[in-house]
């Protein structure tokens, strides 16, 4: 039992990460690939936060000496355990991974915005956001020696479609 | 005195539990009702009713403190936003040509009968 509780979080988070990765590589739709990327990044956040949790801990915001919440938090825990884990009478969770993941979330949204902006431009240039269709159009156009002349024709047919 | 506090705590728990049960019923409604309007009805009852019960229950459990005040402010926001959201959703559905399947309303000719063109644009799924 204790080993299940000890590792289940890691396993669940790893499945979530790999699910995100699967979405990225299995779809050809650019927007959906960005969604997969977001899920991958969020799930990495879940992994970091899993490592930061201290059993019976509380949010790492220092609690005042005379706050009644202290006694209540302490009363929930086994005294021997409390003794080993507490600092200054309170068990705090580890703040460092929180900071790292805050950073990672913000990095994630910046990447998402740039990726979507490029996807919108791809749509404007190719008329589609499916990777396979884009590759097909590139093959058609660049297979010809004098593609400059053909440029207008393909453009026109794309506009119809 | 301690007795009163104890019962207030119990009442809070009961309210929160009632809220929880209401959300389960509400989500059942979202799954089982036949069309958008009835589903929206179920969803918005969950949003407002269940949230009210839960937030008030939690406020009672928190006692007379800053937390209780925050919960009440959160409740005020929920009461403001979620009916508006439901209204906007229903309005958008109606103007893009969705007709209710149930009730006398479907037999009435609404004041703004959706036009043919609107129906077409609605089916593209582009309208937010």
């Amino acid at each position: 039992m204790s080993s299940f509780v000890g590792y289940a979080n890691y396993f669940a988070v790893i499945i979530l990460m790999m699910g995100g990765l699967y979405v990225i590589f299995s779809t050809s739709n650019l927007i959906k690939r960005m969604i997969g990327l977001s899920i991958l990044q969020t799930s990495v956040g879940l992994f970091y936060i899993t490592t930061s949790k201290v059993f019976g801990g509380t949010v790492p915001i220092l609690i005042d000496e005379d706050d009644p919440a202290r006694a209540e938090l302490a009363s929930r825990l086994d005294p021997a355990y409390f003794e080993s884990a507490a600092y200054d009478g309170v068990v705090y969770s580890n703040p460092l991974p929180h900071v790292l993941i805050l950073t990672a979330i913000v990095v994630g949204v910046a990447t998402l915005a740039v990726g979507l902006a490029i996807a919108v431009r791809v749509r404007e240039a190719y008329g589609t956001v499916e990777r396979e269709e884009i590759e097909r159009k590139d093959r058609i156009r660049h297979a010809h020696e004098s593609y400059e002349d053909e440029l207008d024709e393909t453009e026109a047919s794309e506009a119809d479609a | 005195m301690a007795d009163v506090l104890f019962w207030i705590d119990q009442l809070g728990m009961a309210l929160a539990l009632a809220g929880g049960i209401l959300s389960v019923i509400g989500s059942l409604g979202v799954l089982r009702f036949p069309d958008l309007y009835t589903r929206l009805h179920a969803a918005s009852i969950t949003d407002t009713g269940a949230a009210t019960l839960m937030l008030f229950g939690l406020a009672l459990m928190a006692g007379f403190s800053q937390e209780a005040l925050k919960l009440l402010i959160a409740w005020a926001f929920v009461m403001l936003t979620s009916p508006t959201a439901s209204h906007a959703l229903a309005n958008a559905a109606w103007s893009s040509g969705q007709k209710p399947k149930l009730g006398a309303f479907s037999l009435m000719s609404g004041k703004r009968e959706p036009a043919e063109a609107d129906t077409a644009s609605g089916e593209k799924g582009g309208a937010p």
């Binding site: 790893i14 779809t27 739709n29 | -």
Partner: protein, 365 residues
């Protein structure tokens, strides 16, 4: 000291419940073909993650995930699918084998490695005992703010946060390079060039209820942003969250009253200037620290030492106030607010103001 053995408590049970929900949402995202559904499910995924973060004591992360992941990310994605398409192609099963194998392989490797990690919740795990523990014990003496996450974010690892602000700025530059600043939505355009987002908004003219509620809410949201901003030292919150919330207020205004009105109030040029200004403000604090004899971003040297010792209750003269740290954190959080809010607004302008799809537009740049 006894060996740590995790057992189930309420917290852990709720944690498992939320993880199960996340798995279910993930399966739905993998299976759905509708992009609209996928985007909304991603918002739900972020929101559940945020709740999960609260359960695991990461209040600041939860706050950020809620406003960023479930808020602006979803808004950007919706804007993008409005500009592209709403359905993805069906896939042949052959195309799913290779990615599936790669993911299963990497997953098995991680499973195998995870069995060597410390148990969940162990207070004596290296991660929680070494550097992490130091922050809990020393924040009071070094920085003197109650919120340890803010202390680590803004002071101990303030350089990371500068980097993070710059990443946002870089993202803004990237979006502007790709889509411009939304200039095309301004002025009179032929119908063919009008932005679909704006078209959709024009239809919402009759939303009286929406408008009146929004008029009520937008100032409160903006006010709340400032509360979050200045409350960050004592509670969850800070420049990032505040910046995004402020941007959301502006985005809401644009969605309901039209982009042109919003652009009158906050012109794209202003957003661009503020984005750069925020970064300059942040690094300016660091430069002042260097001039006053400290290292880069050492807020203890924000004021000349003699000056700080003279301030009431200064830690240099026996008190407990780290005035340099306090003011340093306030200023850099302000810089973060400027950059994040301005960049998010500029990004929204770029997506919302983008002209209707013009094939071959790429060739014109």
């Amino acid at each position: 000291m006894t060996e740590y053995a995790p057992h189930l408590d309420t917290n852990t049970i709720v944690n498992f419940g939320l993880l199960a929900m996340l798995l279910a949402v993930l399966v739905a995202i993998v299976r759905t073909r509708s992009l609209l559904a996928a985007v909304l499910l991603m918002g739900i995924y972020s929101l559940i993650s945020a709740v999960w973060f609260v359960v695991l004591d990461a209040a600041d992360v939860a706050f950020t995930e809620a406003v960023v992941g479930a808020g602006v990310s979803t808004a950007f994605l919706l804007g993008a699918i409005l500009l592209t398409r709403t359905e993805s192609l069906t896939k042949r099963w052959q195309d799913m084998v290779m990615p599936g194998l790669v993911c299963v392989g990497a997953g098995v490797l991680l499973f195998y490695a995870a069995l060597d990690l410390p148990l969940f919740g162990d207070p004596s795990a290296p991660a929680n005992a070494h550097v992490g523990r130091f922050y809990i014990e020393e924040t009071k003496n070094d920085v003197g703010v109650p919120n340890i996450v803010t202390a680590v974010l803004a002071s101990y690892r303030g350089f990371d946060t500068l980097g993070e602000t710059i990443v946002v700025f870089a993202g803004g530059i990237g979006v502007a390079l790709m889509l411009g600043f939304g200039e095309r939505s301004m002025g009179d355009l032929p119908p063919a060039l009008r932005s679909p987002v704006m078209e959709a908004l024009a239809e919402s003219d009759h939303h009286v209820v929406l408008r009146s509620v929004a008029k009520l809410l937008i100032p409160i949201i903006a006010l709340y942003a400032f509360y979050v901003q200045f409350h960050g030292e004592v509670g969850a919150g800070g420049g990032f969250q505040a910046g995004v919330i402020f941007a959301v207020a502006v985005i809401l205004h644009a969605l309901i009253f039209g982009l042109a009105d919003t652009m009158d109030a906050i012109p794209p040029e202003l957003a661009r200037a503020f984005a750069a200004l925020g970064v300059l403000l942040y690094s300016g604090v660091g430069v002042i620290n260097m001039i006053n004899g400290g290292n880069f971003l050492d807020y203890d040297h924000l004021f000349p030492l003699a000056f700080e010792a003279g301030l009431p209750g200064s830690h240099l003269s026996g008190g407990y106030h780290h005035w340099g740290q306090h003011f340093g954190i306030i200023i850099i959080e302000l810089g973060v607010l400027f950059t994040v809010a301005a960049t998010m607004i500029a990004m929204f302008y770029a997506f919302a103001g983008r002209a209707a799809d013009v094939v071959g537009e790429g060739a014109r740049g």
